[in-house]
Amino acid sequence: MLANANRLTPYLFLAPAILILAVALMYPVGYMIWASFLDWNPSQRIAEADFVGLRNYTNLFSDAAFLESLGVTLRFAAVVVTVEMVLGVGLALLLDRQLRGMTILRTVFILPMMIAPIVVGLMWRYMYHPTVGILNRTLKSMGLDPVPWLSDGGWAFTSVVIADVWQWTPFIFILSLAALQSLPKSAMEAARIDGATGWQLIFYIKLPLMMPVLIVTALLRLIDAFKVLEVILVMTNGGPGLSTEILALRISRTASEFRELGYAAAMSNLLLILLMVLTLAMFFYGKIMDARAARIRAEAEEAV
């Protein structure tokens, strides 16, 4: 009896936390899942909405605009995360040394991250302005043709990618720099003594050792890239056509402009599932890599 009570004690202590978690986290998510089965417009209370089963989900897959926006989101996330990782890690490798004024430089580098997204959107929108924007004015003064930054589908996509890369590369940069500076000096010294060149040092020692941090960083950015809204909302509002209409924007428009809360909830759930799959994939990849490393270590020890 007493043993039983003892075994229950931890759960008893956990109970308040679980309760709060259930109310604060599970309730809203549950609400959203329930809403996704309803035909619900904002003028109705949720109890008045009609239950339509899986209709919202089946409609999603035949909705060309939704599929296009899903495509835009995947492309956007893939491009920005790749570019930001390459630039961020590259910058970190370059700047991982004792320079004068490094602290100030680092602060300057992370400034873009600290600016509110709406402001970033407005700023870039004015820079991209077809006639008075700095970019086109510079091009013109150099005798080049102006670029339709936001008024052509392909260019508009490139333009929002540029703005996102500008804002979020510093995030990758500071995390990679922190990872680099915490690497064991002994490994580096050993490699140097063995005659490794600078490039070999980066590819065989630094990058593999940084990998766990890089994976988490990429994952965080990926999740963020899937949800980016304000910057694009201000810059293009999804246009021209649907060329920059990422999923978060589509969801927001479906809820407020088309007044279909159930349909918007179904989209949000799909986005949530997509992100969970990505997170789990990363998690298992990490597990597999850990297991492999452990096995190699064990084999090495046995060999000795």
Partner: protein, 442 residues
């Protein structure tokens, strides 16, 4: 004896008080504070300026909650579904009419206009501009959103707009061009300007993906003889008139100022104000800004003409109306404010502050014409305001967005116009089918 005297005095006082109450219909509501929801819009800025006058005359206080107009709709949707709302009077965007009336959230105004204690006999409903009343105020008639024998009023137009053509008098005179009266002339001049005045666009137009491109397309659709639906709710947006309207929009944008495909109304108006475009066909609400020398480089050089004619004259109708929410706390006092603001006196006072009149008589007022010389042209344009230039039905939000993104693809990606409109028609039909509009068809 003494007692009798007191009673008598009391009775006299009561009678006197009753007498004043009769003479002043506002007395029972003195000291009431009304909470109203207005958009951030030049017309409502003007209205707020005259609210003090209302409080002074009636003793009713007014507290204003001003929001950006699209935010306003979200906020109202939330407020109107509550048991007790915070707003006594709301200004609503015309396309919200369908949603609010359908959800039974607005007071039918009949019982207020029937109440002799509330209704001002000098209100003169006939003086209110027909197109606006039909478009903004009335629901329940033809097609549900238009007036008809069974329709009734749920709101009063206040801050309503129609479209007129603003053009550069100086540029037109320099090249001997007359202001266009037909669409053929309009399109010809639009593409002539960039050749005559290098660097200047023909006409600045809204064109940004979504609502703006849809608005611009519909602006040309009605005068060119087209409509989104026929009388049986079958989409006919892809007929000849639809193609002509899309072609007109494409021509205008192609010959327009640089970067025009991303313009919303503010950017288009700015392009005209800064002298980068020779014409601007949009709401009358922008005129005051064109004549304001602190923000416009073309003030004094702007001429105004009626919306050019296609196969017919049909300028747009839009803007805002005033309504009393079902869940309002002070409905009667709210009606008094609504009546006061839209009365002849109130309408003129707001117009003198730069608002858009809702009455024919205000447009003819000499004082107003002396202050804003374009008022007469606007009054004339209003006679051709088309209340049915766009449907006001609950499914409109998604159809509007679809038209807008498709038009944007036509403008920026060279999508074939017929193909684009066929696609819109097909998707629109599916939306309408799902919403039950074909339930009565064989």
């Amino acid at each position: 004896m003494f007692n009798l005297k007191t009673t008598l005095t009391g009775a006299t006082l009561a009678a006197l008080a009753a007498g004043t109450a009769l003479a002043n219909p506002y007395a029972p509501y003195e000291g009431t504070t009304l909470v109203v929801n207005f958009p951030a819009h030049p017309h409502y800025d003007a209205a707020i300026n005259v609210l003090d006058q209302f409080t002074e005359e009636t003793g009713i206080e007014v507290e204003v909650d001003q929001l950006q107009y699209l935010r306003m709709r979200e906020r109202q949707t939330l407020e109107l579904t509550k048991d007790e709302g915070d707003y006594d009077l709301i200004a609503y965007v015309v396309f919200s009419k369908a949603d609010y009336v359908f959800a039974d959230q607005l007071e039918n105004l009949a019982k207020y206009f029937m109440n002799p204690a509330l209704a001002d006999p000098n209100y003169d409903q006939a003086d209110l501009i027909d197109g606006y009343v039909q478009n903004i105020g009335v629901a329940g008639g033809e097609k549900g959103y238009l007036p008809g024998k069974m329709g009734s009023a749920f709101g009063v137009p206040f801050g309503s707009e129609t479209s007129v053509l603003a053009y550069r008098k100086d540029i037109f005179e320099k090249h001997g061009i007359e202001a266009p009266t037909t669409y053929d002339e309009l399109l010809e001049i639009a593409c002539q300007i960039p050749e005559l005045e290098p660097g200047m666009g023909g006409m600045a137009s809204r064109a940004a993906s979504g609502h703006q491109a849809s608005h611009a397309f519909l602006l040309h659709l009605a005068p060119l003889g087209g409509q989104v639906f026929d009388d049986k709710w079958e989409p006919i947006i892809n007929n000849e008139a639809g193609v002509a309207a899309a072609n007109a929009l494409k021509t205008i944008v192609d010959c327009g100022p640089e970067g025009g495909t991303t313009f919303g109304p503010a950017e288009a108006a700015a392009s005209f104000k800064q002298g980068q475009s020779a014409m601007f066909l949009d709401s009358i609400a922008f005129a005051a800004g064109f004549e304001d020398e602190t923000e416009s480089t073309v003030a004094g050089n702007v001429g105004y003409a009626m919306h050019p004619m296609g196969v017919e004259r049909a300028s747009q109708t839009g803007g805002f109306g005033l309504a009393i929410p079902k869940n309002a706390e002070n409905k009667e006092a709210a009606f008094l404010l609504m009546q006061w603001l839209t009365s002849k006196k109130g309408d003129l006072a707001v117009a003198m502050e730069g608002g858009n009149p809702s009455r024919f008589s205000t447009y003819q007022n000499e004082e107003l014409n002396a202050k804003y010389p374009y008022s007469a042209t606007f009054g004339e344009a209003l006679e051709f305001a088309d209340p049915d230039w766009r449907p006001i039905i609950p499914t409109w939000g998604s159809i509007n967005a679809d038209i807008g993104t498709t038009m944007s693809q036509v403008l920026t990606e060279g999508l074939d116009i017929q193909e684009a409109l066929d696609g819109v028609a097909e998707r629109t039909r599916a939306t309408m089918d799902e919403a039950g509009y074909y339930a009565w068809q064989e």
